[in-house]
């Protein structure tokens, strides 16, 4: 079982990674970066420190030409593009900064969408898909919103629907890219509480990326991309 097997691995381990866009100067140059399994990790970095690129590499949307990007025990650099897409669809959850939802689908349809795109993710859900969606939605306190369309929801509600979508099908790693940046502090705290609870329940590692260091204390561990990315040092 891949679940048990991956539990022994760190959720993310990057070694000797160098990445550049189209033969230009490297934007990422990381010797080692590790996210232990089951932890809530805060990754911060100023804008331009390569956050977006790192997330692209971790989710397999981008591919590094040098180094090892091991996610949940699988080296993504050894996979083809479509295999990386399949891997991401099956085993990762992703929350955007904003605009997380397909505007023409209801909240419920948005939540179950990953399981419709990826049949192996669907296979990780036992029983009816909708029941699972409702269970997660209840955890995130959005049960009453499931029939609404994204346009009818507040930003905070949308982010909770996005969290539910990231969590369906028991992904082992949830990557959140500044999901609270559009929320005021009360809603931000509520969102983090709900997200933490849900991740713990799902047994998912959470990699939370933000430039807002005031959140740092709430996490098990904090990493600074600015410190590990040697490309920045070279550039300046």
């Amino acid at each position: 079982m891949s679940l048990e097997a991956s539990a022994q691995h760190p959720a993310v381990r990057i070694e000797n990674l160098v990445f550049s866009y189209r033969k230009r100067e490297p934007v990422l140059d990381i010797e080692v970066l590790e996210v232990p399994a089951g932890e809530r990790v805060f990754l911060h970095g100023a804008s331009g420190s390569g956050k977006t690129t790192l997330l692209g590499l971790l989710t397999g949307v981008l591919s590094a030409e040098q180094g090892v990007v091991r996610v949940l025990g699988t080296d993504l650099t050894s996979l083809s593009g479509s295999r990386r897409d399949a891997f991401r669809g099956e085993r990762l959850g992703y929350i955007f900064q904003m605009f997380n939802l397909i505007p023409y689908l209801t909240a419920l349809d948005n939540i179950i969408l990953p399981c419709q795109v990826s049949s192996s993710r669907r296979a990780r859900v036992r029983g009816p898909l909708e029941d699972e969606a409702r269970r997660i939605a209840a955890r995130l306190e959005i049960t009453s919103l499931l029939d609404s369309r994204p346009g009818e929801l507040s930003v905070g509600q949308q982010q909770r629907v996005a969290a539910a979508r990231a969590l369906i099908g028991r992904p082992q790693l949830v990557v959140a890219d500044e999901p609270t940046s559009a929320l005021d502090s009360d809603r931000r705290d509520l969102f983090l509480d709900l997200l933490f609870d849900s991740c713990r329940e799902a047994g998912a590692t959470l990699l939370f990326v933000s430039h807002d260091r005031s959140l740092e204390d709430r996490f098990d561990r904090s990493l600074s991309l600015s410190d590990v990315n040697r490309a920045l040092v070279k550039a300046t």
Binding site: T52, L55, Y94, I102, P103
Partner: protein, 440 residues
Amino acid sequence: MLTPRLALQSLRNRLLATTLTVLSIAFSVALLVGIENIRNGLRESFTGTISGVDLIVGPRSSSVQLLLYSVFGMGSPTGNISWETYTHFRDHPAVAWTIPYSLGDNHRGFRVIGTTDAFYEHFRYREGRSIAFREGGPASTDHDVVVGSEVADRLEYALGDEIVVTHGMGAAGIMDHDDAPFRITGVLERTGTPVDRALYVTLGGIEAMHAGWEGGVPPMPSFAPPPEDENEAGEADDGAAAPGTRANEPPPASVEPAQITSFFVGTPTRFEMLGLQREVNDFQQEPLTALLPGIALAEMWRTVGYAEDGLRIVSFFVVIVGLLGMLVSLYTALDARRREMSIFRAIGAGPGRIVSLLVVESGFLAAAGALLGVLLVYGGILLSQGAVEERFGLLIPLRPLGTLELGYLAAVVVAGFIIGLVPAIKAYRTTLTDGLSPRS
């Protein structure tokens, strides 16, 4: 299937843009298919001007000229055929029936044709429809006239009205046959052919009009009729009370005409047709021309029908514009949908799936547009068929799509898919470079 369902939901989400795109494709397809239908209707109406007639015989001339004056009522006859020649062929064993035509007079611009009952019996148009009467019946005496529907409608004639025929083919005749008026005994049903614009009298009627004429010139008394003369003639008529019993009536009973202008021939079998045509063309006593109307009409349509190619080219470009409109609307929507693409990428959709989503959308738009366009055409034909036939005498038949139209429709749908590829490929590229965060 997830992709078609998502494509449909996405299209429904942008209902206005979707509707407009489908409509623009529908209208361009409707124009294309509609023009094809009208073109067909025109050709059928043109080639159906006369049917069931195997040969048209006239004095030696070009076949186009013979066709024009005998069938379409245009231009002037080039000469006449002697009665002996006509009777020779009328009684020919390879001839089933004949319709003699005697031209040369008009009534207020409408042609007057001298013919026999064979016209009402044998003349056919548009796939074998025969001449029918709206009111009354055939001309039985030499003072009877049957008018075509358009003549009756334009000049507001009714049964029993008396009319005067003018010598010559032009509208402004200088010599009226007012010494021999005609009484309307029948009005024909609308045919949508030149029959509607003609008046039919007996051969004897033509002879009676020209009784006493020499070399195309009327006898002296009526040559320069002063008003007094006309009044006198009128008084004489009044005295006689009823038409047909006029004092100066020419000898009744059919005067045997000395000549006619042309005649239509029906043969018992098609096999005799070609032999008879050769025989007529080689006739020694008189130089004659015989043509096969079906072939001559088709030839003529080819020469006048080039305009249809122009129509076709125009409608073809309209379809291209419609498809370009779809491209523009898909392409402009694409930018707003980059986040949507990122979401699909984030949940594991490969670029192929995103391409297929966009291609299915555009293909669906094109197919819906094509279908709606065809429905518009058929609906339009159904609704306007009667009115168009009434107004223009043009019957646009409701017929299944021809191979040409099916080809057009297939091309539109295929083009829709291909056009969907353009924004899809752009989306594919941007999803690769955007990663998961669209750069706005």
